[in-house]
């Protein structure tokens, strides 16, 4: 942007210099008719004016494009599931119609994390589970509140590798809503999910045999909002 402005200024200066330098030359040559000088001046001025207009238009277009790029990129990402963006939530119909792809077993590893200021003990009940795409699976996490006061937690999750995230559909889990644990209480938290059968068709997923599902719990304080983008709902 700055570069463009400086180029514009450069052009302006060049043209201004040309006019100021050439005009004494034109004026000095007395055998040239004065009308010609005036016409030549206006023609040059017109050229300068139109070039200036083009430059300004280019600058405005660049600024406009950079503002428009944000929603455009978002739409592009959603349409093509680029960079781990998961698609829109699927209807129940697709769940009831999907067929298990028996010849492609996948190992789902479970990971549990807690924010450093959070005092819960949070761990998965199983280190891994073998599923096949198209089959719903149930997994458990356990959370324990060892403190003497109620703690409210809220969690988010992550799927690695990123490209597999678009095929990982959760039917029900315990994330994104505040969960309260009473003092010295232990609770089992299930996750009910499935891997989309289209996983089998994706050439990028050919060598992917393991997927890691990682949950992280944070303490929910007043006014805390997890950054779930609104367009992803």
């Amino acid at each position: 942007m700055n570069r463009l402005l400086s180029i514009n200024k450069c052009y302006l200066n060049t043209f201004r210099n040309n006019i100021s330098r050439s005009s004494p030359v034109i004026l000095l040559s007395k055998h040239v008719l004065p009308n010609v000088c005036v016409l030549r001046g206006t023609h040059e001025q017109k050229k300068i004016g139109s070039t200036l207009n083009y430059m300004i238009a280019l600058g405005v277009m660049t600024v406009g494009l950079s503002y428009a790029a944000v929603p455009l990129y978002r739409i592009f990402c959603q349409a093509y599931s680029y960079g781990g963006t998961t698609g829109q939530a699927e209807a129940d119909v697709s769940v009831s119609k999907m067929k298990a792809v028996k010849d492609r077993p996948l190992k789902i590893r479970f990971n549990a994390d807690v924010a450093s200021s959070m005092q819960w003990n949070f761990k998965p009940q199983q280190t891994d589970i073998t599923v096949v795409p198209g089959e719903t699976a149930l997994a458990f996490y356990t959370a324990r509140n060892p403190t003497d006061k109620s703690v409210i937690g809220i969690s988010t999750y992550n799927v690695i590798p990123f490209e597999a995230g678009q095929y990982f559909n959760k039917i029900q889990c315990f994330c994104f809503e505040e969960q309260m644990l009473n003092p010295h209480e232990q609770v089992d938290m299930p996750v009910f999910f499935y891997i989309d059968p289209e996983f089998q068709e994706d050439p990028k997923m050919e060598y992917v045999d393991e997927i890691v599902l990682s949950y992280t719990f944070f303490e929910a304080k007043e006014g805390l909002k997890l950054p779930v983008p609104t367009y992803a709902r």
């Binding site: 998961t86 939530a89 589970i129 149930l138 039917i171 609770v187 299930p190």
Partner: protein, 83 residues
Amino acid sequence: MSTAMTFGQKQFIPTPPEKGSFPLDHDGICKKSMVKYMNCIFSNNSNNSMCRNEAKDYLACRMEHNLMAKEDWTKLGFKEGEL
């Protein structure tokens, strides 16, 4: 996670679950079903396909005690024929 330095790297964007969040089972009502399911998983070498019955039992327990919205089994991926 999404700082300025991660520009250009692929970002993971989490999505909310389809049917929302499970209410917490504070009283441990369905703990027995859960333990059965975990035992099945351990004995079958963590293979989910063998433990679909136990998973169904656990979800049935949840539905019975109002810890989960009642749904058709087909909508949860449990087909009529095989179970």
